[in-house]
Amino acid sequence: MNQLEAHGLGVAIGEKTLLHPTDLVLRSGELTVLIGPNGAGKSTLAKALVGLVPAEGQVLVNGVRLAEKPARDRARTIAYLPQGQAHSWPLDVENVVGLGRYPHGQTQTDETVERVLTDLGLLELRHRAVTTLSGGEQMRVSLARALAVDADFLVADEPLASLDPHHQFAILDRLQAVTQAEGSSPTGILVVIHDLRLATRYADRIWLLHEGRLVADGHPEKVLTSDHVQRVFDVATTDETVERGGSTIKVALPAAISS
């Protein structure tokens, strides 16, 4: 059972603290959703977990410090999808997804690339230049590239941005399936999203971030209380029943701007 732990993970730029020292555990077999208002430090936390920004504290994977692993080893441990992934050249979709195999020593199309292209419904687009695709299609290509890494963990920063509702469900279904399937990876996934209803429906665990501090960490029912949501997002809420894996749960969801 893989486990990624952050101990006292904090990020500061000069005098400004972006993320206060935080303890976290990203578990395999779980889809964790990171929520918080704009500027709460979500992207900073995502980058700090992957080791892309200088941070205090440490990140351990199965007890080994991530920062001490060789670069490609680290890349095979935790994959990252940045917010608004850019594509500098009009490479083929297949080629872009193949870049996810770089940590494994090559960037050719192999079984893994074929698998993620199939899983994300990209087979028809495989020979198209990525820059000619729509925003939503590009997002799916980027996610496919991140999944092709086949890492133990995946951190995806707003992978649902610019996706229509159908594809939002499709992507979250896919990610949920990946965390639950035996023997497939990544097994532990962290996604940053803004839609609290989707978070309720899919998250095994929610991290609620506010002004660089982790306010709550747990099951959606425990995190999305009217107190939390009203205070953190500065909105009025209504209690709603959300369907979730065959049963329903009650959470507080934003209803209007707070008066």
């Binding site: 980058k47 490609r72 994959a79 990252y80 850019a86 594509h87 050249w89 009009p90 490479l91 960037t107």
Partner: protein, 331 residues
């Protein structure tokens, strides 16, 4: 693969033409007679005059094409090239200072070393000025600043030169030429050009991953800082050494990668070899033009030809970027 083969054939053909054409133009039988040593006069022309010139054209053109492709991959923009970043101008400045101060003759090994140091300083200064992940406009403006500064320095060196003949010689050398180069020039430049090229080819797969941006590349295990350093040093070695033996030859680094990029599916890794081969072809063609265009006095300089052809080409690229930006709705 087929593309590289085709370019290699074209290069061989142009190389043969470069051996055959000149003040004394040779047919196939003349070439064979000269190369096999049956005609001593032709042998002298081929081995002492045309072969070094041809080899230098291939080495320098190839390294310029390769450097352009690598730099474009590094900064992820098709408008990047060594000349726009002021590397050749800075290499020339270093070499001119060395020559005009009388510290080194035009055949000294100090020359390519000075050229490389000049080019290296300019690329390091450029990256420092523009910072990481700089928008291309900042890179181009910084390159302009460095080029202008290097040109001013070169003018100053000429201005203060104690010997007007030396100044004239330096001025001509600056125009960029492959004329009257010997095997000694080849021996001076080749090792550095080859070492720089190896360093650049080595970065191929990293450059491909970099097309996803620096953060993603780092997350995939690319040592981005090391790649940046390797490209900077590789370009400085290749361009600096080339400039020190042939003067400044502009814009091949911009044009060559552009011509072949669509043929390799815009893959920055697969681009490197074809860009080098087409760069070599381009410089051979330019050097043939120099020999074939009649002039009343001094023969044309190859650096003048590449600049004359390259500048309008750059303009076309800029116009195309402008259209692309307009399509995206950017200001």
């Amino acid at each position: 693969m087929a593309l590289n083969l085709a370019l290699a054939c074209l290069l061989t053909l142009l190389g043969a033409l470069s051996m055959a054409i000149g003040t004394t133009s040779l047919g196939i039988d003349g070439l064979i007679a000269g190369l096999t040593g049956t005609d001593e006069r032709l042998t002298l022309i081929l081995y002492e005059i045309r072969l070094p010139r041809t080899l230098l054209a291939i080495l320098i053109g190839g390294s310029l094409g390769l450097s352009g492709a690598a730099l474009q991959g590094l900064v992820r923009n098709p408008l990047a090239s060594p000349s726009l970043f002021g590397a050749p101008a800075s290499a020339a400045l270093a070499a001119v200072i060395l020559i005009s101060s009388g510290m080194a003759g035009a055949l000294s090994f100090a020359l390519p070393v000075a050229g490389m140091v000049g080019a290296l300083l300019s690329v390091v200064a450029l990256l420092a000025l523009a910072g990481r992940d700089a928008p291309i406009i900042i890179l181009l403006l910084s390159g302009l600043v460095l080029s202008s500064f290097a040109a001013a320095g070169t003018s100053l060196a000429l201005n203060l030169s104690p010997n007007p003949f030396a100044a004239l010689e330096v001025a001509f050398w600056l125009l960029g030429s492959l004329e009257d180069r010997s095997f000694q020039h080849v021996a001076m430049a080749a090792p550095f050009i080859l070492m720089g090229s190896v360093l650049l080819f080595w970065q191929a797969s990293s450059l491909k991953v970099l097309s996803l941006g620096e953060a993603t590349a780092v997350s995939l295990g690319v040592a981005v800082a090391r790649v940046r350093l390797a490209v900077v040093v590789g370009v400085a070695m290749a361009v600096g050494a080339g400039v020190s033996v042939a003067g400044t030859i502009g814009l091949i680094g911009l044009v060559a990668p552009h011509l072949v990029r669509p043929l390799v599916g815009y893959d920055p890794a697969r681009l490197l070899l074809p860009a080098a081969l087409s760069g070599a072809c381009l410089l051979l063609v330019a050097d043939l033009v120099v020999r074939l265009v009649p002039t009343s006095g001094e023969p044309l300089k190859v650096g003048v030809v590449t600049a004359l052809v390259g500048a309008p080409f750059f303009l076309v690229l800029v116009m195309r970027e402008r259209r692309a930006l307009a399509l995206k709705g950017a200001p």
